[in-house]
């Protein structure tokens, strides 16, 4: 691991001021925030991340879960994944989020990993993690060996000729379906970013994964008030029963009235270059009766633009069945 300066500023303002001196907040950032450390230290040991300064944000007051005046929920940036998963409000009103969190990583890692860290979780693409290999995400312009190489775990939605890396997060898939808002404090003050606008498609700049700029500190995530009577399910399919990244996953939040879907929120994991909200599946579901044919139709819509790589064509059918079964479970 390269050495670095370890800093613990007194407050968020000082934290933002130091981070604003960085050239980028994206891959290769020379200033990094550390909270749980489960992604950052892993990548620093691999020399994929080599920050000159590491800012410990664990002592900042960003670890609260609080109800909002309108009945939603504010989740602090440094709330641990395990605490969030077992919070009574989350278990009761946002079950899809609790299920997604508990489907991710291990008990030890969930005790360490944080809300903001999970938002910024990096891909597990083996080429990204190996500095002996080319990788457009790690070193722009060097090429993407995954496209002609080992790509079984990689993405089928949102890919480009420059990058096919999968976003590995479970939490983000649930938050996409819950239409969360990400709150950021930056050099020009605070701003709110709709969840779907936070992560970027790789395009020709896969090194840019989010809209974050130097100095931006994620302070909290807000969930809107829970949809009354909504049925929520997170279903994750993987090579092992536990402690493995998704081959395909689905987060569904449905409202059913008189046997018909009146509101649908659908997001997929394990298949996209970013947490994959499917407006196509939602549109296909709304107004339709609760039945297998309608669910399959929605799944077909969600995967219509899927582009298989040499080893991961199976993910298209797997993701369709995953979503179809998640919808069945939610309406059982």
């Amino acid at each position: 691991m390269h050495t670095f300066e370890f800093l613990r500023p007194a407050d968020s303002e000082a934290t933002v001021a130091i981070a604003a001196q960085a050239k980028t907040a994206q891959q290769g950032a020379d200033v990094r925030f550390i909270a749980g450390g489960t992604t950052l230290l892993d990548l620093m040991k691999l020399k994929v991340e080599t920050p000159a300064r590491v800012i410990d944000i664990n002592r900042l007051p960003l670890d609260k879960i609080e109800a909002t005046p309108d009945g939603g929920l504010n989740i602090g940036a440094t709330v641990r994944n395990s605490d969030l998963a077992h919070h009574p409000s989350v278990e009761r009103d946002y079950a899809v989020l609790s299920q997604a969190l508990l489907a991710g990583a291990s008990a030890q890692l969930r005790n360490m990993a944080t809300t903001a860290g999970n938002l910024l979780q990096r891909t597990r693409c083996m080429y990204f993690r190996d500095t002996a290999m080319p990788c457009n995400k790690r070193e722009p312009g060097t090429g993407c060996p995954a496209i002609t190489g080992t790509n079984r775990m990689l993405a089928i939605l949102g890919t480009s000729e420059h990058c096919i890396a999968t976003n590995p997060s479970d939490m983000c898939v649930a938050m996409a379906a819950l239409e969360a808002t990400i709150h950021v404090q930056g050099v020009n003050g605070a701003r709110a970013i709709p969840f779907g606008d936070f992560h970027l498609l790789p395009g020709s700049t896969p090194n840019r994964e989010t809209v974050l700029e130097p100095g931006d500190l994620v302070t909290h995530v807000t969930l809107p008030p829970p949809a009354t009577g909504s049925r929520q399910v997170y279903l994750k399919l993987r090579d092992r029963a536990s402690y493995e990244f998704a081959l395909a996953s689905a987060a569904v939040v449905l409202t059913i009235e008189d046997g018909r879907v009146t509101r649908a929120r659908v997001a997929l994991g394990g298949v996209g270059t970013k947490p994959w909200r499917s407006l196509e599946a939602e549109a296909a579901l709304v107004g339709q009766p609760v039945d297998q044919a309608g669910f399959r139709n929605a799944a077909e819509a969600a995967l219509r633009d899927a582009k298989p790589q040499s080893e991961n064509g199976f993910k298209i059918e797997l993701a369709k069945r995953c979503l179809t079964y998640a919808l069945q479970l939610a309406t059982a």
């Binding site: 691991m1 050495t3 670095f4 300066e5 370890f6 800093l7 613990r8 500023p9 007194a10 407050d11 000082a14 001021a17 130091i18 550390i34 749980g36 450390g37 489960t38 230290l41 892993d42 040991k45 590491v54 410990d56 664990n58 395990s82 077992h86 990583a105 291990s106 008990a107 030890q108 890692l109 005790n111 360490m112 092992r240 029963a241 536990s242 402690y243």
Partner: protein, 161 residues
């Protein structure tokens, strides 16, 4: 700027197995390496060093974490418990006794991590059946494959609790 700059060698104060410690570490030192190389508490093992195997599991303020994926300097003021702080050869922790009784190990390399994880599990939300225990123990790998006996040991302690 009101940042408190911390030089590369930093002195931290923390409690390890009930004993206060003041120790000067390079900022890059993981909690795991500090425990093993500086405090010579070698019961905590280094397996993968990337948070994947669970051999380095310790308790920080009563919660289980992988000590390889956290920096020692992040734990100023914290209370750390390692396998050495759990029991002694003459006075085993009930979980240690259950691992012996149920033969919950073969080579033993993962065992301290397994036991630290299992002790923390006792205080976490966990269903009654074996499947729930397996799910919450999935972060501890045993390449000898003693899993069945590990689950039996944990269930024995839970039953007697």
């Amino acid at each position: 700027m009101q940042a408190t700059d911390i030089p590369s060698d930093t002195t931290i104060k923390l409690t390890v197995n009930g004993a206060p410690q003041a120790i000067t570490v390079d900022v890059r030192t993981s909690l795991l390496d500090m425990l093993r190389e500086r405090l010579h508490l070698t019961g905590t093992k280094k397996g993968c060093d990337h948070g994947q195997c669970g051999a380095c599991t310790v308790h920080v303020n009563g919660r289980r974490v992988t000590s390889c994926l956290t920096l020692a300097v992040m734990h100023d003021g914290d209370e750390i418990t390692t396998i050495e702080g759990l029991g002694t050869p003459d006075n085993l922790h009930p979980m240690q006794a259950a691992f012996v009784a149920c033969d919950g190990y073969q080579c033993g390399y993962c065992t301290s991590g397994q036991i630290m994880s299992a002790v923390a599990l006792l205080k976490e939300p966990c269903g009654a059946d074996d499947a729930a225990v397996k799910e919450l123990m999935s972060g501890n790998i045993c390449r000898c494959g003693a899993y069945a006996n590990i689950v039996a040991a944990i269930q024995q302690v839970r039953k007697n609790a």
